[in-house]
Amino acid sequence: MKKYTIINEKDTRSGFGAGLLEAGKQDENVVALCADLVGSLKMDAFAKEFPNRFFQAGIAEANMIGVSAGLAGAGKVPFAGSFAEFCTARVYDQVRQSVCYSNTNVKIAGSHAGITLGEDGATHQILEDIGLMKMLPNMVVINPCDYNQTKKATIAAAKYVGPVYLRFGRPSVPNFTPEDQEFIIGKAVHMNEGSDVTIIATGHLVWQALLATEALEAKGLSVDLINIHTIKPLDDEAILKSVKKTGCVVTAEEHFLNGGLGDSVAQLLGRKLPAPIEMIGVNDKFGESGKPAQLMTAYNLDSKAIICAVDRVISRK
């Protein structure tokens, strides 16, 4: 199979910070707001470079979203950042009315998404944000897998006109996508060509899916691996093409099964190409405190779980 190597270990939120700075350099209309978490979201570089284009909103996320909508209406390209929980679930109505229904060009930047937020526990570990955001008309939902992809996603989000939810995480994780890899919103990245099973992964689970793919190929299986960074709009074509070839699919994500990537893929296949599907994700329960890596294992969000799911799905073909 195609070899992917770890360039370095970096957090995806740093990819956001770097991307935001770059987007700010490319377009003077890019502005940023943050709800008292500048360091956590790595927005310091932007705030330092463009002090007149950065707004500290304080711990008042509803106002931050509303102000962002106003800025966007007036022609700015605002990135509103907080922990994923506080800029999605906490302000759902503001995102719904001021951003999505009004169709304003607001980018919602949710960091510390998922269970890998770690020790802070379930109050902060949102596992339903993708579902919440993808249900809103006009919203684009992006969940990149590593530093390089997050940086590119941020720059792409700035160029795209319309509401975007950009989801990224806290811990350092392998950074493995090539720096020159093209990022197109809504276009999946095909990471490995195979014919026995399709694995579709997003976010932190992409690296785990790669490890699983290596292990499965070593056992003689042929795996088609798709890296889905955009949950909405979903790359239907790439998924259908792959499943037509393999006849079964495993999805993997750091999110609830309800409302996540697997849910979107199942909906697509149910309508267009029924096939056995297994889903890796959290099934209807809150997270808890722990080290990120421990939690990923405890909640079956790792390569081992993906391998088991592949065994199950192939037996259902």
């Binding site: 509303g66 102000v67 909508a69 106003g70 022609g75 503001q94 304003t104």
Partner: protein
Amino acid sequence: MKKIQELENIASQVRRDIVRMVADVSSGHPGGSLGCADLLTALYFNTLRIEPKNFDIKGKGEDLFFLSNGHISPVWYSVLSHRGFFPKEELATFRLLGSRLQGHPTPVKGIPGVRLASGSLGQGLANAIGYATAKKMDGDDKLVYVLMGDGETNEGQVWESAQYAGAKKIDNLIAIVDWNNQQIDGTCEDVLSLGDFPARWRALGWEIIDMNGNDMQDVVSSLEKAKEATGKNKPVIILMKTEMGFGVDFMSGTNAWHGKAPSQEQKAIALEQLKETLGDY
């Protein structure tokens, strides 16, 4: 400046439109709309520096108005149409399937004059702050106005925004609260007391201006006063006393008509009390 009598005449037409729009579709919010007819008339026909024929969402180089308590859309739609944003005949489509005049205002169907959706309460002040901030960044010296209901200030987001505007010295912003002391379930005191309302705004750094929202002379001069208070490192708020349902005797001073449409008979009685001036739609 338009003569006070002239503005009062326009407000009478606006009130006629409100009653007819709501009665003819048997739904909508006449009470607050009637109470705010004088304010919106004065704003659009005297105060705001706007170009109705060249409406643009970005609103650069113009004064901007946002309606946060979106349920009083009838008064806004009527004023916008008479000011030339769209043909007044369109008022007949209010709340009908396919209309640009949705029950609560939205830009998604492309109605000129509306820049952001409102209806779910408490969001307009933040939206206005965003536009006001952009104006400052762009060196645009025009002003941003936003109207809220008094009951609406029950919403926590309003106070997040109030604190933000005070702290960040958003001094190109004029907020107006329709202080009719009525909300759906009763008086403001009965539902959830506003406490010392002026003191709450003052504490967060706002400049306060009082207004009798149903006295056109006072509306015009208070708006002028508010304008003069801008640019002094403080956001400005007009605490506007109105009577819900003002202009129609049986609808005045009660919350009974907050979200209730008059019958055809009641409509006829109301219209007898309101002079037609600019021509009905």
